[in-house]
Subunit: 284 residues, 2 copies
Amino acid sequence: MKTVGIVGLGLMGASFAKALKEKKLCEKIFACDINATVLEKAKNGNIITEGFIPENVDAMLEKCQIVFICLYPGATKKFLDKHKNSFASGAIITDIAGVKSILIDESEKLQSAKLGKAFFIPGHPMAGGEKEGFEYSSANFFNGRNYILLPFADTPPEKLHNFEKLIYDLGFKRIIKTSAKNHDHKIAFTSQLCHVIASGLVQCAEDTNITEFGGGSFEDLTRIAMINAPLWTELFLANKTNLVYHIESFEKSLSQLKNLIETENETDLKNYLQNVREKRIKMI
Amino acid sequence: MKTVGIVGLGLMGASFAKALKEKKLCEKIFACDINATVLEKAKNGNIITEGFIPENVDAMLEKCQIVFICLYPGATKKFLDKHKNSFASGAIITDIAGVKSILIDESEKLQSAKLGKAFFIPGHPMAGGEKEGFEYSSANFFNGRNYILLPFADTPPEKLHNFEKLIYDLGFKRIIKTSAKNHDHKIAFTSQLCHVIASGLVQCAEDTNITEFGGGSFEDLTRIAMINAPLWTELFLANKTNLVYHIESFEKSLSQLKNLIETENETDLKNYLQNVREKRIKMI
């Protein structure tokens, strides 16, 4: 692979750039960002070969064999629509959006990997952090993480194979292939519901000195409540139906547990917790 | 300090023993456990000086200048009642129970530090782990942790001072002094509510393969769901009123957040998350 393009040099995009550079996975790294200072920093730091402002992004896209679009979900959709004819012939175009149904048609029947002359392979690298932006990015950010891929029926096998190889080379440990529908259902649980819970828990804390009484549990449960509000507002709303479904399922579990405590049903409470313990251990 | 006694060589008790030994904080370490194999292991591993079976514990207690009672809350109460006249004159007796109102009279007015000829200073080392028992104990288990102390009005200042010094020497970074009532209210939030949430979340997971879609959030939120069921059943029930209060307060926060998502109230949702982010950052 000669040239990789990255659209958006935030935490994720810049971590891709740094991992590509450090692991010597391509010859050139081009990047586009709305922030000229970030582009300069990345170029001076020898992380990218050349920076492009959004007005010149088409000139960048046509030179790249692979393009990572590292934008918020709505912006990703707009970017794909606007620039679909600018991608190089045979290039692989991918994204990192945390919801997929807004990018891929619900039915998925009419869909094709074809994006102009290029091929779109939607993806979701399962990595994140409570500190966003270029300065917190790292070449090791993806080590040991999961990557969800959503190939289409007509995605050329050799394109998919090459992309999967690159994903492992970047440090990810496991690739899961699934549909947009299943992705959004699962992610609403493992990711969005967890952010909702963490946020609700911080919201109901009586004061900010509460961590004086902390033994690690509250801290672990609420680290992700240092949330990027605009991004997660977008993610929650774009996946509303799945998310509300899981919130209500969690509300039922919680209410069941509360009831066992309120009625001092020691036997059932102990069984509930024992089952939970065994179920969680199986998840390792 | 010459001799420290430890009642119960589980995760906590054995971590105390190992920290005392490694940091050379006393001359002799005596320990009592119902499991003779554990006592043997601890003695052969040169962690304790001598092991005592429960039948002989009085012979141990009378030789100790400080005794850590590392039992479940109900067992702690029974142990104190049964052996209160066996402690050495002037000794410091402490415990690790995660609820305190069952040990200390509600009013706290009639209470005194006096326990036979010794002094009781209730405590709660804020450390724990999803893997319990002697084999997971460690000399570094308490490093950087909080310790909650509940001294009485008549606790001799020099006894308290000596005990606090020992706590810092064991690796703890902060001591919080409070009442049983406040302890149980705060702990119901930072510890018990978190365990309830983690358990409810695992309970409503659709399957145990869900971590294939995990990016760290679900894993972090549910590590404590690998819960010691008998211990936490006891803790939840012993602190029922406080815990149910906090569960209901969390249910309200969660419901408010769900409502903002359901009604697609983007502005208020973003504000809610932004406030949560700022509140959580202040807690660091």
